[in-house]
Structures are given as C-alpha cells and as structure tokens.
C-alpha cells in the first residue's frame, strides 16, 4: 500500500516538476508547482511527518502559491515567447545538463550509505508535538529571529493596507 502510494505520488511529483519547467504559460507552470508541493505533502505523510505535510500544504500551496497566481493574474502575463537561443545554450545546454546530473548522482551516492532502505512511517519527528518541542528547545534562536522578521513583514503589510483607496 505504502509503496503504491509512494510510487504514484513520486511519479506525479516528477511529472509536475517537468511540466513546470516545460510549460509556456506562467499560470500552468505555477499550477504544476502546486502539484509538486501537494505530492510532496503526501510523501511527508507517508514518512510519518504529518505536521510538516500540513505545513507544506498550508504555507506553500495555500499561501505562497496563491500569491504567485495572484501576481501572474494581476499582470495578466501571457504565454512566454520563444526567443532566439544563445549560441552557448544551443550547443552546450544538453551536455552541461548531463554533466550536472552525473555530478549530483555521484555526490549523493557517495554521501549516503549504500543499501539502506527508507522505511515509511518510521520517522518520528514530524508530528506537531515533536516539531514544536524541537522549535522551542534546539532551534529557539532561529525561530525567534524568524518571528521578528515576520513581525516586520506584518507591520509593512499593515502599513500598506492602511493606504486609502483614492
């Protein structure tokens, strides 16, 4: 069951990711990105990190991507036009991409122990309680710094909302 779900959503995530890069229209790209995020959220759930999954859903696909879509719609951006490719991109693009893939594969295989299987549901740090505990003990300084950052952003938002429509 877990494997089926994992494969399904992993494939969806990859397809959506490709689609995001290949789509010509910004709204289609943005929606593909949302597809990636939702699939990732499902994968988090499969790993047993419900809170992180929910946060992924609420923050990334629920709030940030809505802003993306909002801006794209507001600017009424149309499909992007194909431009004349630069010489370097035309000839070196695909070889360079392959090189990047090769290097990253090499790094990943080197850095993780071979033959270790990922177990679904075995991770036990993704529930709301665990995440909260970690945030307020080990990561309390980054957490508070981020809070202050967000507070500044909120003050800015309030200032903007205070402007009369005239």
């Amino acid at each position: 069951m877990d494997l089926v779900l994992f494969l399904t959503f992993a494939i969806i995530a990859v397809v959506c990711g490709l689609s995001m890069a290949l789509q010509r229209h910004p709204v289609a790209s943005a929606l593909s990105l949302i597809g990636v995020m939702v699939s990732l959220a499902v994968l988090y759930v499969l790993l047993g990190a419900e809170f992180i999954a929910a946060a992924q859903l609420v923050v990334y696909s629920g709030a940030i991507m809505v802003l993306f879509i909002f801006v794209i719609m507001l600017l009424n951006a149309g499909a992007e036009k194909t431009t004349h490719k630069a010489g370097l991109a035309e000839f070196m693009g695909i070889p360079l991409l392959l090189l990047l893939l090769a290097v990253s594969t090499w790094v990943i295989t080197k850095s993780t122990a071979a033959g270790k299987m990922v177990k679904f549901g075995a991770f036990s740090g993704g529930g709301p309680r665990e995440v909260g505990w970690e945030l307020f003990t080990r990561y309390v300084l980054p957490f508070e710094v981020t809070s202050i950052l967000i507070l500044i952003a909120i003050a800015g938002a309030v200032r903007l909302a205070d402007r009369e429509l005239d």
Partner: protein
C-alpha cells in the same frame, strides 16, 4: 449608441502599469438600464470613465412633431418611466402656458398630489435598487411593497400603473374615482413608519455608512458647472428646487422644506431623498386636507375634450369633441420653457408652436441627461465598487436620458 470608444494607446501609458479596458454595460446589473460605461482600470481603481448613452434612444422628440398636441401626452409618459406624471405635468403646463389657460384649483391640487406620489414612487424604486447595488437586498423588497401600493393608486386614478397619461392639457383626464381619498390617506399616513423601517436597516448600519460616506464627492462649483440638479445638488447644500424657486401648479400654497445636506457624498444624496419622501408625504396630506371643490378640467371647450356625458347630450360638445379629435387643437405661435421638479432633478420642456395642430419642436431638458454628465468626474480615480454606489446615487433613468 455602440460608439467606438478607444482606450489610450499603450505606448502612451507608463511602462509599469498596464491598464485594462472594462466595458461596463450596456448589459450590467447595476447600470440601471442600458448605460455603457467604458472604464480604464488600473487594478481595481478607475483611471478613466467614458459613459456611452443612446441605447434607449427612441426618437420621442421627433415623434412629438408628428403627433398633435394632445397625443404627445402619451409620449411624455415614456420619457421617464418612473416619474411619468411629472412629465405629463411639465408638458401640460407648458402647453397651457402657450394657451394661457386657467386651471381650476382642484385640478391643481390633484396634480400636486399626484406629482408628489410620483416622487415617492420614484424614490422608493431608487432606494431599493441603490441598496441592492450596495448589497442590502432586503430593502429592495420593502420598498417595492410600498411602491406597489402607489401603483395601485395610480391604477385607480387612471386605469394604468405606469403609463398613466392622467394629467392632460387643461386639467386631468377624468374625475378622480370614488373612494380615492380614503385609500390615499391610508397609504400616506402609513408611509412615515415604513420609511422608518428602511432607515432602521440602513442608517445605523456601519457597512452602509462606510460604503456611502465620503464617496462620490466633487466640489459644488464643479457640480453647478456640469449641470447636476435635483437631490445631487441639494446634497451639496444648494437648496435648488423648482417647486420653491418658480412655483407651478399652486406649490406656493404648500408648506414644505427642501431637504439639503452639505456632505456632498452618496450618503448625503440618500439622506436628501429619504427626507424628501417624508416632505412629499406632508405635501400629499396638505393637498388632501385643503382639497378645493370644483371641476378638474378648465373651461376651455376649444382645447379640452368635453366630458363623455355632456358629449352624449349636447350638440356643441359633440362638435368640439369631433374637431379636437380629428383636427387637434391649435396653439398660438410662441415658445415656452417650462420647468418642474422631477424626482431626479430639473425637468424642462421647451415647447415651440407655429400655430398649427402639431408642435414644431418639443425639447426635453431631462435631469438624467444632465446628471449623467457628471458621472466621469465622480468615479474617476475611485474603485469599481464605489462607481456602483455613485451611479446608484445619481439616480438616472436611461429612458429619461436618451428619450
């Protein structure tokens, strides 16, 4: 009508804002008929507004020239279909002035009574639709409940709910029906409490106040310059009302106030209209109380159709009837500009006679046409939601505007 209105070319606009041209109307729920406003939007705020009228142009002024003096009355009904009796009255007063005819006092009082009922009727429709535009839909049904009563009264008087044609050259079309006093009295005595009901829904409603206060302001000088009349200019503090300034049809005998407000915004116009309804109710009550006895038609056999009964018994009346119906009446050469205070503002009929049985020219200076000219100045640089509130507050009728 369907005029090509082009937006500014894009290269002229600044590079970081791209404007969207929105074609509001002619089929839009809040343009009250077939008004088209071409909006240039920057996000949600209106950069430029261009009203486009003429979709309801029916050539009434041209038709008037093809009909005889009496027949024109039926066309005046169709000009402003919410204030048809005011239009009847204005035209009749103009022709009577050309004929230099005396109108019996009872007819004058009944005309005042009917004109004020028309005002209440029109304001009720306005209040209902205006509140509906801003989103308060219950007021609409309450207003139409009372409007229905007024239309029943009109039907009782004239046999018609909308196209009454009841006020005629020389007086009224018919004697008022039996029992009209009681029904008008029941209605008009109950009206103030009904108006309280609408006000209780709106006056203390914070959302209503937020949506209407401070919205749609332009300076008084600009208003006069553009030619706004009626509650719009009274909401700016100028007590400009033809009933007081140039009284007609014995308005000088009535005690009433011209409600004004100095806020000059959508709320001020709302307030003025609602207070006007109360004043109109007072005028109707005074007209009922002081109703003189006598005929309702002038004693001018050459111009006024004789009574049906007399026509059947008197030879002379039959001859006059025949002559008026077949030839029409002849009105002395001259021209007259008659002004009445319609619910929407200053309604003027410029009537020119060349002595024949048909008018040479009937020009209608309608309040909606004048008020609508002020629309761009009011809604430019405001949001779409405000433009709806402002359009509602101008209270235009497109039939009145396009004629």
């Amino acid at each position: 009508m369907s005029h090509t209105i082009t937006a500014e070319p894009e290269e002229k606009q600044s590079s970081h804002t791209r404007r969207m041209t929105l074609n509001m109307g002619p089929q839009h729920p809040s343009t009250h008929g077939v008004l088209r406003v071409v909006l240039e939007l920057d996000g949600e705020s209106i950069f430029k507004a261009t009203p486009d009228i003429g979709f309801l142009h029916t050539g009434i002024e041209k038709q008037c020239e093809a009909l005889n003096w009496h027949q024109v009355i039926t066309l005046t009904d169709r000009v402003d279909y919410l204030a048809n009796l005011s239009n009847n009255l204005c035209y009749s007063l103009a022709v009577e002035k050309l004929l230099q005819m005396e109108i019996p006092p009872k007819a004058q009082y009944l005309r005042v009574l009917l004109a004020e009922l028309t005002r209440i009727n029109s304001h009720l429709v306005w209040l209902g639709t205006h509140a509906l535009d801003i989103g308060a839909m219950t007021v609409f049904f309450l207003c139409f409940r009372e409007r229905e009563d007024i239309l029943r009264l009109f039907e009782m008087f004239s046999g018609q709910r909308l196209m009454t044609s009841y006020i005629r050259i020389g007086g009224l079309a018919l004697e008022p029906p039996r029992g009209w006093e009681k029904r008008v009295k029941t209605f008009i005595d109950g009206l103030p409490s009904k108006i309280d009901e609408y006000e209780s829904l709106l006056n203390t409603n914070p959302i209503w106040l937020k949506r209407t206060k401070g919205v749609g302001k332009i300076s008084v000088e600009e208003m006069l310059e553009i030619g706004l009349t009626g509650p719009c200019i009274r909401g700016a503090g100028i007590p400009f009302d033809a009933r007081k300034m140039t009284p007609y049809s014995s308005y000088e005998k009535f005690q009433f106030e011209v409600p004004t407000s100095t806020d000059n915004d959508v709320y001020a116009r709302y307030e003025c209209r609602v207070r006007e309804m109360r004043e109109s109710a007072k005028i109707v009550q005074q007209a009922m109380a002081g109703m003189p006895e006598g005929p309702v038609q002038a004693d001018a056999p050459k111009a006024v159709l004789p009574e049906r009964e007399r026509m059947k018994t008197q030879m002379e009346s039959l001859i006059y009837h025949f002559k008026i119906v077949t030839e029409g009446i002849s009105v002395p050469v001259g021209e007259v500009f008659q002004v009445v205070e319609s619910p929407r503002g200053e309604l003027g009929y410029y009537v020119v006679s060349d002595g024949t049985a048909k008018p040479l020219r009937v020009h209608m200076r309608t309040p909606s046409f004048g008020n609508l000219q002020g629309l761009p100045n009011m809604i430019e640089s405001r949001g779409i939601a405000d433009s709806i509130a402002i359009m509602g507050s101008l209270d235009f009728v497109l039939g009145d505007c396009d004629r």
